[in-house]
Structure formats: structure tokens, C-alpha cells
């Protein structure tokens, strides 16, 4: 049985300092088992400026078993599968401890984006490129960030405008957009589902 009391507290805790960390966790649907985490690409890396979404599934025994996390946003990184988004990170496997939280896990993933470990790769192709031709790697990663991690080049006001034009009330549009971390597609999905 997932400890929902703890999950709820974790969400509150995490979203409290969203302005500082830029990291947020929100329910994907209306349950506390399937969540969506958001991390900003670290500054000074090819991922800078991107917003990366991470699918989080909580196992039955959470927090005594690690949360299952994978990238929902396509990303070019030696330790992340370019196909499936699977993440190779020890704390998501045998080094998990119940004292860790979703936020600390997301922070670790963010750290992984800044410091790849090509010697322990998840995606061999990317790792090879990283080791042999860093320039090409960096530009590919930047290109992927541009293409996939910036779902829209529109500013917040533009997004609000667009959604309001679709017939949703402005207040609801703003709060929804905020809840999903500014992703207009997710916001639309949420608005449509009620």
C-alpha cells in the first residue's frame, strides 16, 4: 500500500519552493500513483532552457521501494535511453533509501544531466558519441532540447491567450497552466478532462 500521507506531504513540500528549484511534481491523473515531475535543464549544459518531464509511477511499497521514473521528454544523454526515456541511476535501483524523496530523486536526475557518466551508459550510441566526438554530441543534445524540451516557444501570455480563445475561462487557464508547469498541451488535456 502506497503511503499516500507521505506522498501528499512530499508534493506540498516540493511545490512550495518551485520558484527556487524549478522542480515540481504533480499528479498525472487524479490519483497519487501516476505523477509527472518537471525539471529545468541545468544552466551551462546543452539542456539549458529546456523543461524536462519525467513520468513517475509509485510502486505498492513506496517509499520502501524506489519510484519508477523515466523521461517523458525525449532527451539526448548517455545515461538516458533516447528511445524509451529509461534512466540509469543507482538511487532509482539498489541504492534507493526510504529516506530519499521524489524531489531528491529529481534533483539527482538533474545532476545527472549536468554530469553524464558515459562509462556506465544506458544508451550506448549516445555514450560512444559523447566519448569520441563531444562537439557533435553537444549539438545533437542542444538540438533535441530545442525540438522536444521546449514544447512551445510561446510566452506564458501567448499560451493563456490561445487557451482562452478556445473557450476556457482565464482564471482556470492560468491556474491549470501553472499546475502543469506551463505545458500548453498538458494544460489543454487537463482542461478538457474537466
Amino acid at each position: 500500500m502506497v503511503d499516500f500521507g507521505r506522498v501528499q506531504k512530499e508534493l506540498q513540500e516540493c511545490n512550495k519552493d518551485i520558484n527556487v528549484s524549478g522542480i515540481s511534481v504533480n499528479p498525472k491523473f487524479d490519483n497519487l500513483i501516476n505523477l509527472i515531475g518537471t525539471i529545468p535543464g541545468p544552466v551551462g549544459t546543452p539542456y539549458e532552457g529546456g523543461t524536462f518531464k519525467i513520468d513517475i509511477d509509485l510502486p505498492e511499497a513506496y517509499p520502501f521501494e524506489p519510484p519508477r521514473m523515466k523521461f517523458a521528454t525525449k532527451v539526448w544523454h548517455p545515461n538516458i535511453s533516447s528511445q524509451s526515456g529509461a534512466i540509469c541511476l543507482d538511487i532509482l535501483k539498489d541504492q534507493w533509501s526510504p529516506a530519499l524523496t521524489l524531489k531528491t530523486a529529481l534533483l539527482s536526475i538533474q545532476a545527472l544531466l549536468s554530469a553524464p557518466e558515459p562509462d556506465d551508459p544506458q544508451d550506448a550510441v549516445v555514450a560512444q558519441q559523447y566519448l569520441k566526438d563531444y562537439q557533435t554530441f553537444a549539438s545533437t543534445a542542444r538540438y533535441w532540447t530545442e525540438s522536444f524540451a521546449k514544447t512551445s516557444s510561446l510566452g506564458v501570455e501567448d499560451k493563456v491567450q490561445k487557451l482562452v480563445e478556445m473557450g476556457f475561462p482565464e482564471g482556470l487557464v492560468r491556474s491549470t497552466l501553472e499546475a502543469v508547469g506551463g505545458d500548453e498541451n498538458l494544460a489543454l488535456e487537463k482542461l478538457c478532462s474537466g
Binding site: R6, S97, P98, A99
Partner: protein
């Protein structure tokens, strides 16, 4: 005369009496044998049978040594031992080499035991970092590493870990804390929610002594006798469990020396596979180009026709028409020489013959061994007849001694063939020695093997003679022959083992081939491990605790009896010993069916 006793004294013959030419020295040899009527385990015999009852006592010994040396508590000693795979010497070595702190941290034993646990109780509530709830301090538990979480979270953590099969190394919940949790706390907490899981946990801990220990292995008997065997120094040996099962300790297969484990594995696989049949088919048949069935050519010219009606050329295997003369097939020519195919079939043919040679001899000796096993009965009858006769001869131990010598030599001889097959086959040792070198060694070995073979056959012949009908002089003559040949075959077996160990396998660079040493007396019987009574006191504290919780517990008579084996006295004393050991009451009996355990 008891057959077992005869067998026991068989090996007592001195090697120096290599060949006894006159009757005096023969008698001397016999007297020497008689002076030692009881077969005592040889000095090297240090393997022990560990039964369900003595398992606890077996690990207590090791734990006490570690506890005394490092002044540790029991669960820390166990944690250390599990980490170092129950190798006490290794622990001492690490202690000397790296010091106590490193020794402890590597194994997950906290260095500083927290003594301030009392002070933390005084504060009324605290927050558990796992469930993020504020809870009264009496619902929190602090581990030796100093990390404190609530009992609910600890329990949940332990249950997950036990179910993951990690009972032996459950770490603290704090991130990057590598301390191993106190097993008593684990048991207490888990027992409150899942008593059956706590029992499972106990068993995992107990069985760690067998599972995580390279000197202890489960007896591979089927159905399983429930015993494990512990050896002392050399893991390359052959042992006999108290259940009667004889096996190679190293690979758990049947005893197979002087063949090495690797060779034996290859050999049994080869014998099981049909690879040789396949080889035969490659050499003697060709597939029909139409139906692909293998076709054997049994004479005639090179135009072969399959039962499916397809005609084809035997030389190249290609489909042809049926028109042909004696020397060629109409519209078909395949005269070009194809080296590869020739070579391949030549090689396959040679390999097959080689394998057949060794396998035939291996099989012949194994078969003889089986037939001779039946001799036990007839020999017993013959001896009975002779003993009934009124004659000078009183002692017939030479007959049974000779018979057991025959068994052992036959066994060594049959397993020497798979050994030779791989040793001189040129596949395993290509890189290790030159062809010429190997050839010389092969001759040396084969000479020895030959000699042994000749003498074993002679011994067999004499033992099978119907000497119970012979005159006394004739019997005396046979007796001399049997005793002589027994001594000779024993010596030859020993020499063959020595040759294999030192000249052949010993010269190899990579020591992956090891064989069990030769024992004149046959495969060593492991002795029962005595249950140590001294282990009693070391766990007194826990015992009191357990007695409190079980509140008198079940009385001995309430327990359903175990396997119903052995004599009453021995059995009950084993039981009592376990109970007194302190662990006893909380232990479940591995003899009991699962549902009985569940009910408890």
C-alpha cells in the same frame, strides 16, 4: 566376520610391504592389521556432517571466536561473518591488515555504538523522516548507527527486504548509511506483524552458514537428507554424508577422481549429448538433396538413390539424373578437389574413434565395477562356508579386504579414462605445453594406467575363484596372491594420482583442474558434528527475552516428533540441546511439514 570391519581395516596395510614373498612377512602384515581393529578416521578426515540440529552449534563456534576477539555483540559478529563468508581467518587477517575500523565499516558494523539512546526517549515526540509524521518517542527505534525512524516504517522496510531475499544484509533506511540492522530488532518488529515472516528471517540467517560459506555445502542427495557437509582445509575432496551419499565436494557430482571437475562435466555432457552420433552421421552418410534425410552408401557406384526416389552424386552430394555408367554420371562432373570437406570428415572420423576408445574403456570398467558389486553377497557366502570348515585358517579378512581394494581400484581406473581423454586430447591444454612434451607424459601415464589395469584384472580373477571348494594349500596360495595384489593396486593407484597431480595437472599454468587426493581407505566419511554445550551462555540475555515472550512455550511433548529417525536417547538429547541453546523455542523444526510450522 563383519563385512564392515573388514573393509575398515583394508587400508591399514603398510606400503613398505609392497610385495610379500614368504608367509612370515604375510603374517606380519596381517597382524599389523589386526592390531588396529577399529577403523579410526585418518588424520586428514576433518569433514563434518551438519544436521538440522547441529547447524546452530556449528555457527556458534565461529561466532563465539569473533565475539571474543573483537568484544562484539552477537548480531555484529554475525554481520561480520556473513560479510566475510564465515571465514574467521579472513576476518582476523583483515583486522591485522586494515585495522578494526575498516574491518567494521566494510561489513556494515557501526563503529560507535550509540549510548545516548536513553536521552532520546525523554523527548516526547519526534518526526520520522520516512512517513513524515510526528510520533511519540516510544514508537521510534534507534539503530546502532544512530538513525532513528518509527517502528511502522522500520517494519515495512524489513518486510520488503526479507521478501526480496535480502535477510542477511538489511541495511539502515538512511541514505548512504551502510550499517546492517540489528537482527534482534528486525525479528521483534516483524514478528508483531508477520510471525511467519519472522520465522523465515530466522531460517535465512541460520542457513547463511551454509549458503554463504565456501567450506560448507548441502549434501546433494535426492531426496534431500537435510544435511550439510563442512570440510576443513581443502575444498577439493570427496566425502560421504551420513546418509550414505558419496560426492565430490567441489562440484557436487558423483565422486569422479582422478578426473578433474571440469573434465568430468565435459565428459558427462559429451556422453549425454548425441554429438558423437551426429559425428557418425557426418562421416558415414550424406543428406539427400531433396528430402534431406541422411543416406548411407552401402556399396555400388557413386550414384546413390534415396528412398524418396531422388538420385544424387555421392562424391559431391548434388542432385543428378539416373543415367550413368560405372565411372560417371550423365551430365554431371564434380571432379574438383575440395580440401575443406575432406579435412572436416577426416577429423570427425578421428575424433569419433578417439572418443570411442576412451569411452569403451571407461564403460568396461564401470560395468565391471557394477558386476563386482554383486560379489559382496557371494563373498559373504564363501567366507561363511570356509569359516564353517574345521581348518587352520581362521581369519578371512583378506577376502573382503581384497574385494574392497578391487572396488576402489576399479573406480579409479574407470575415471582415469575420461581424464586421459581430455588430458591428451589437445583441446584443453594446447596453449600450455608442446605436443612432444604432452606425448612423453602421455606414455608415462599410460604405462602406469596399464600396470594398474593388469593388476586389477588379476585381483578380480583371484577373488572370483570358487575358493570355498579348494584345498587349504590352494586357499593359502590365493590368499597370498590377493594380499599381494591388494598392496600393489593400492600403491599403483596412489602413484597414478601422484602422477596426475604433480606431473600432469601440476605443471599447468592455470590451476582450474584440481582433483581430490587419493585415499587408500576410499572416500572419507564425514563425522557428525557434536552439539556444543558451551555455546549456552553467550545468548543468555536473548533466551530470557524469548522465554518471556513465548510464556512457557510449547512443551517438548507437544511437538510432533520429527523424522522419527535414530534412537530415542540420541534424538531427545539433540532436542534438549537445541532448546537450551536459547534460540531453541523460537526455532522451527526443519523436519516438520510447513503447515505445522505455520500453526506454531
Amino acid at each position: 566376520m563383519d563385512l564392515e570391519d573388514c573393509m575398515s581395516s583394508a587400508g591399514e596395510e603398510e606400503e613398505e610391504d609392497y610385495y610379500c614373498s614368504d608367509r612370515d612377512s604375510l603374517d606380519d602384515a596381517l597382524e599389523n592389521e589386526e592390531s588396529d581393529p577399529q577403523w579410526a578416521p585418518p588424520k586428514g578426515s576433518s569433514s563434518k556432517v551438519i544436521t538440522k540440529e547441529s547447524l546452530l552449534a556449528a555457527q556458534r563456534e565461529d561466532m563465539r571466536r569473533v565475539m571474543e576477539l573483537l568484544s562484539l555483540r552477537e548480531h555484529h559478529a554475525r554481520t561480520l561473518l556473513i560479510h566475510y563468508r564465515w571465514d574467521v581467518e579472513k576476518i582476523f587477517a583483515v583486522l591485522v591488515e586494515k585495522g578494526k575500523d575498516r574491518l567494521f565499516t566494510e561489513a556494515g558494523v557501526p563503529i560507535l555504538e550509540s549510548h545516548n539512546s536513553d536521552s532520546s526517549v525523554s523527548t516526547s515526540t519526534a518526526m520520522c523522516d520516512i512517513c513524515m509524521e510526528d510520533l511519540p518517542s516510544n514508537e521510534m527505534t534507534k539503530m546502532d548507527c544512530g538513525h532513528c525512524f518509527c517502528n511502522n516504517c522500520w517494519t515495512e522496510h524489513f518486510i520488503v527486504k526479507i521478501n526480496e531475499g535480502q535477510s542477511r544484509r538489511i541495511r539502515c533506511m538512511a541514505h548512504k548509511c551502510f550499517a546492517i540492522c540489528d537482527e534482534a530488532i528486525i525479528r521483534d518488529l516483524v514478528d508483531k506483524r508477520h510471525p511467519d515472516l519472522a520465522e523465515k528471517f530466522d531460517r535465512f540467517l541460520l542457513e547463511s552458514y551454509i549458503e554463504d560459506n565456501k567450506m560448507v555445502k548441502w549434501c546433494p542427495s535426492i531426496p534431500h537428507c537435510g544435511n550439510a557437509i563442512r570440510v576443513e582445509e581443502d575444498e577439493f575432496c570427496e566425502v560421504e554424508c551420513s546418509c550414505g551419499n558419496q560426492f565430490c565436494f567441489s562440484c557436487l557430482c558423483e565422486a569422479h577422481s582422478p578426473c578433474s571437475c571440469v573434465m568430468w562435466e565435459l565428459w558427462t555432457k559429451k556422453c549425454r549429448d548425441e554429438s558423437e552420433t551426429v559425428n557418425w552421421i557426418t562421416v558415414h552418410t550424406k543428406p539427400c538433396p531433396k528430402c534431406h534425410k541422411p543416406v548411407e552408401k552401402n556399396g555400388g557406384c557413386n550414384l546413390v538413390s534415396c528412398i524418396c526416389g531422388q538420385a544424387f552424386c555421392w562424391l559431391c552430394g548434388g542432385a543428378t539424373g539416373r543415367d550413368h555408367t560405372w565411372s560417371n554420371i550423365a551430365g554431371h562432373s564434380c571432379g574438383r578437389y575440395k580440401e575443406d570437406r575432406e579435412k572436416k570428415s577426416e577429423r570427425a572420423k578421428r575424433d569419433l574413434y578417439r572418443y570411442m576408445h576412451y569411452h569403451n574403456r571407461y564403460k568396461a570398467h564401470t560395468d565391471s565395477f557394477k558386476q563386482e558389486s554383486r560379489l559382496k553377497e557371494t563373498i559373504r557366502d564363501k567366507v561363511a562356508v570356509l569359516e564353517g570348515r574345521d581348518s587352520q585358517l581362521r581369519d578371512f579378512s583378506w577376502v573382503t579386504n581384497g574385494l574392497y581394494r578391487l572396488f576402489r581400484s576399479r573406480r579409479a581406473l574407470s575415471y582415469s579414462y575420461p581424464f586421459a581423454y581430455y588430458m591428451f586430447g589437445g583441446e584443453l591444454f594446447n596453449d600450455e605445453m608442446t605436443k612432444e612434451d604432452l606425448e612423453i607424459k602421455q606414455h608415462l601415464f599410460e604405462d602406469q594406467q596399464q600396470q594398474l589395469e593388469t593388476n586389477v584384472e588379476k585381483l578380480s580373477k583371484f577373488i572370483e575363484e570358487p575358493f570355498d571348494n579348494y584345498s587349504e594349500d590352494r586357499i593359502m596360495e590365493i590368499r597370498m596372491q590377493v594380499i599381494n595384489l591388494s598392496v600393489i593396486t593400492d600403491t599403483l593407484c596412489r602413484k597414478m594420482y601422484e602422477c596426475i597431480e604433480t606431473d600432469l595437472l601440476g605443471s599447468l599454468q592455470f590451476g582450474i583442474h584440481n582433483i581430490a587426493p587419493y585415499h587408500s581407505k576410499g572416500i572419507e566419511k564425514a563425522t557428525e558434528l557434536p552439539i556444543s554445550w558451551a555455546a549456552k551462555s553467550c545468548n543468555a540475555e536473548k533466551r530470557h527475552k524469548l522465554e518471556d515472550t513465548t510464556n512457557g512455550g510449547t512443551s517438548e511433548s507437544d511437538r510432533p516428533s520429527g523424522s522419527g529417525s535414530s534412537d530415542e536417547i540420541g534424538f531427545s538429547s539433540l532436542k534438549r540441546a537445541r532448546k537450551d541453546d536459547g534460540f531453541g523455542d523460537s526455532m522451527f523444526d526443519l523436519n516438520l511439514p510447513a503447515d505445522v510450522i505455520d500453526r506454531n
